[in-house]
Symmetry: C2
Subunit: 485 residues, 2 copies
């Protein structure tokens, strides 16, 4: 009973011929038997329970004594009564007779797509080859915790978050300023909306611009989370083909123009390519001609090598029909749960309100801590360091793949970002599954295809592995590939 002052959600029938204490005993026993109160659960004191349900303390004592006599609970003077019965079906799910099936809905369709596609929990402890996972061992958590602690202390005035659904004004201004400089994004702070992670931003945007039956161009292969959000908004997706070496294929636009175009131009998933400037212009022009929206998920732009940095698509249309999405999950860490969107001026007010009513607001104390972390230069220092670390690890992985795994895996060496895509002739799913059995999680390239015949390959991450870990994992992968071949 540790949660709260206990009050049993039951009404005793005072008009019944069954004595109150007997009723109480039966209801408590029912709860222990049916509602799987776990062994060890504390019951409320007789006084607390008596006060809560409006009976005398003697009534409760009587019921407790009977429960104890029948071994449902154990009582000891001066200590709380505790449940002793190990419920027979404690691990069973409640499946009432004739349970209703869940109906179809757009959100449910999108949700179903995601199953098996989320980053597995085991990755937190052994990232291995899982791609796009930052090296948390190198994050300055001590400094970060100092910032958070400070804002938790000072958070009383921030505790009513409801009037800043778009986020802390100073953080929005700082993000706007940086995006103008680093990505050429055309925006005023008013257009920046901070959300509970990047996926939340995608969710609100697609729901704002799409109606049921609308069609969206979606990169194929592409990021499953975005496709899920498109389907969840009730829309359909048409493939915008992307080749491992060829990049985006814009030569066969669909006969029906799309309502929106989703692209990840800084680091395409899974092929980690950068979209050339000419293609960005093409998309911007095409969207203008066909009156389509652009959703630019600028995933991993922070890790682009200097020479590949190209202005955001958003800049090319002056921010009129582009939604620009970013996240701090990779530059900071995923549990921060802070992402953002830059929306066209006409959407700014609605986006803020939509963030409120859909419950997507991000924690204000965390936003305040992030603002400090950036302003005091910790973010820039961390990024400078991690770019160097990740670059060295990528080069090392590339040379190991070329020297050790080359017969099987063909790396795509010109690719950018926090993963190394590789192609192979073997079917990738059995290799990925065998790797998983050996404690090594590697997503198959084919898993990123949703609408067409997939290429086979492995998407290798490298960010969070030290040299010994990398060597051991490469050796394991080599054995798996040898056996599979």
């Amino acid at each position: 009973m540790p949660y709260d002052m206990p009050v049993i959600g039951l009404t005793l029938d005072r008009a019944s011929a069954v004595p109150i204490q007997q009723q109480l005993f039966e209801r408590l026993r029912e709860m222990i038997l049916c509602y799987d109160l776990e062994k060890g659960t504390e019951l409320p004191s007789t006084r607390a329970l008596a006060g809560a349900i409006g009976v005398s303390r003697n009534t409760v004592s009587w019921a407790y004594e009977r429960l104890a006599a029948e071994r449902y609970i154990a009582t000891r003077p001066g200590a709380p009564a505790r449940v002793t019965l190990e419920p027979a079906f404690r691990e069973e799910r409640v499946r009432p007779e004739g349970a209703l099936p869940a109906p179809a809905s757009a959100l449910r369709t999108g949700a179903g797509l995601m199953r098996g596609h989320r980053t597995p929990r085991a990755i937190a402890e052994r990232p291995g080859f899982w791609p796009f996972v930052p090296d948390l061992r190198q994050f300055p958590f001590k400094t970060w915790h100092r910032m958070v602690a400070r804002h938790l202390q000072m958070s009383r005035h921030d505790d009513l978050t409801y009037d800043q659904p778009a986020g802390l004004p100073d953080l929005r201004a700082l993000i706007a300023q940086n995006l103008r400089l680093s990505r050429g994004v055309v925006c005023h702070p008013h257009q920046v909306v901070i959300t509970n992670g990047g996926q939340a931003a995608l969710d609100v945007i697609f729901r704002l611009i799409l109606k049921r039956g609308d069609m969206v161009w979606m990169e194929e292969p592409g990021y499953t989370g975005a496709l899920a959000a498109i389907l969840a908004a009730g829309a359909t997706a048409a493939p915008l083909p992307v080749g491992p070496k060829e990049g985006w294929d814009l030569s066969h636009p669909h006969l029906v123009p799309p309502k929106a175009i989703y692209v990840t131009p800084s680091c395409q998933q899974p092929f980690c390519r950068v979209m050339p400037l000419a293609q960005r212009h093409w998309i911007s022009d095409y969207a203008r001609r066909t009156d389509a929206w652009i959703v630019e998920d600028d995933f991993d732009n922070e890790f682009l090598p200097p020479r590949t940095i190209i202005p955001a698509v958003q800049r090319l249309d002056g921010g009129q029909r582009s939604f620009y999405v970013g996240t701090f999950a990779k530059t900071m860490f995923p549990a921060l749960r802070i992402g953002y969107a830059v929306v066209p001026e006409a959407f700014a007010d609605d986006m803020a309100e939509a963030t409120f009513i859909s419950g997507h607001m991000a924690s204000l104390p965390m936003q305040a801590a992030l603002l400090d972390f950036i302003r005091q230069g910790h973010f820039a220092r961390h990024m400078t360091k991690m770019r160097r670390v990740y670059d060295a690890r990528k080069q090392r992985l590339l040379s190991l793949v070329q020297s050790t795994l080359h017969p099987w895996l063909e790396p795509l060496p010109t690719c950018v970002g926090l993963a190394l895509p590789t192609l192979m002739r073997l079917p990738d799913v059995p290799v990925s599954e065998e790797a998983r059995r050996q404690g090594l999680r590697i997503p198959p390239i084919s898993g990123r295809y949703h609408q067409s015949s997939p290429r086979q390959g492995l998407l290798l991450g490298f960010c969070a592995m030290t040299e010994p870990e990398l060597l051991a994992n490469v050796a394991t992968l080599r054995r798996i590939l040898e056996r599979a071949a």
Copy 2:
């Protein structure tokens, strides 16, 4: 330039006849002029910028010197260059020529409804009569910060949140157990999904069960946030009338049965009534007969007086067609951003995935801290204390209204929860607006009506006022009412 290693999102045209340094100068000036870099903004060092965009350091120095000569920036040896120009239209929003209007969408319709209905920011510092605002001065923040700090320190393994979209298993189990005991809710931990606040839970639920054009019974007057979420899911709302003294009027069911029924049976908004058991049975039976879902927003159930505690509607149908929603915003504090839903078994898996793809996951370190806070008894202690504090303040407010404001305001004294609804003959909006001008925010009862002719009154909060604050605010309100009469 504090955000990150600066890289200008621009490409210099190396084939152009214009010298590179001149191009760089012009682009930087354009950014200062057009993209409202604020006065005082640090520019990157010449070395950093040169490396980032692939030019020589001399090129950058030349551009900086020209910018300094023309007073756009100020340079000093050993210090970063800073923007000195006060942009002419710094506070202006970017309004590109021919800006596109935002199209209609269900989410936008819902969002529009919310404007002006959120808790204003000023409330954080002066809660006054604003209802349902916990007294943050009495929250044990020191203890809470200790819990959070501990989990921030230990959070590395939790930092990849993506595999627990439904929340921390232990917290889900604890919530399930408490709801079984305190509300009679029929559930297994598997059916509990933790979300980024209660509004997020409403958003996911309505999107899972509703299709465009579906109709929902919505309390009238009622909670605007729920109505906004219903409209945002593409559905329409039909009024389920609630009277200030009469309570829910279930005597005129609509000819068309609803797809879902939304109720706040523990503390109806704004009349703070508890739904009697017989009406709960009626709703449960009616939903079964018409194959409708029930969304039970059990708002403020934690503050019910013992004698008014009635089992949740969810219990009456065995959890088959009921979605039960709760939040820690009132028992803890709003910025915590942790809410939860109990969903029917058939929805449990989908609800977890839907929470992921819609970006509604709550922070795992915060969940872990909350779990500790509850397990160590701090939550129960805080609740015991606050129930006493709020009860005393409510009695005090009631007696002051009866003695001082009675000619104008008629309190509804049998009501429960963290607000005192009052009726009045005067129009409530002008009184609320005059109060606002005098620094006192009080929502008018009429603002909770969305579809029918409103009653007039004031919804008075009391939780966060000390005795002197209460006396001063009652005196102010009395002057306002005297003048308005």
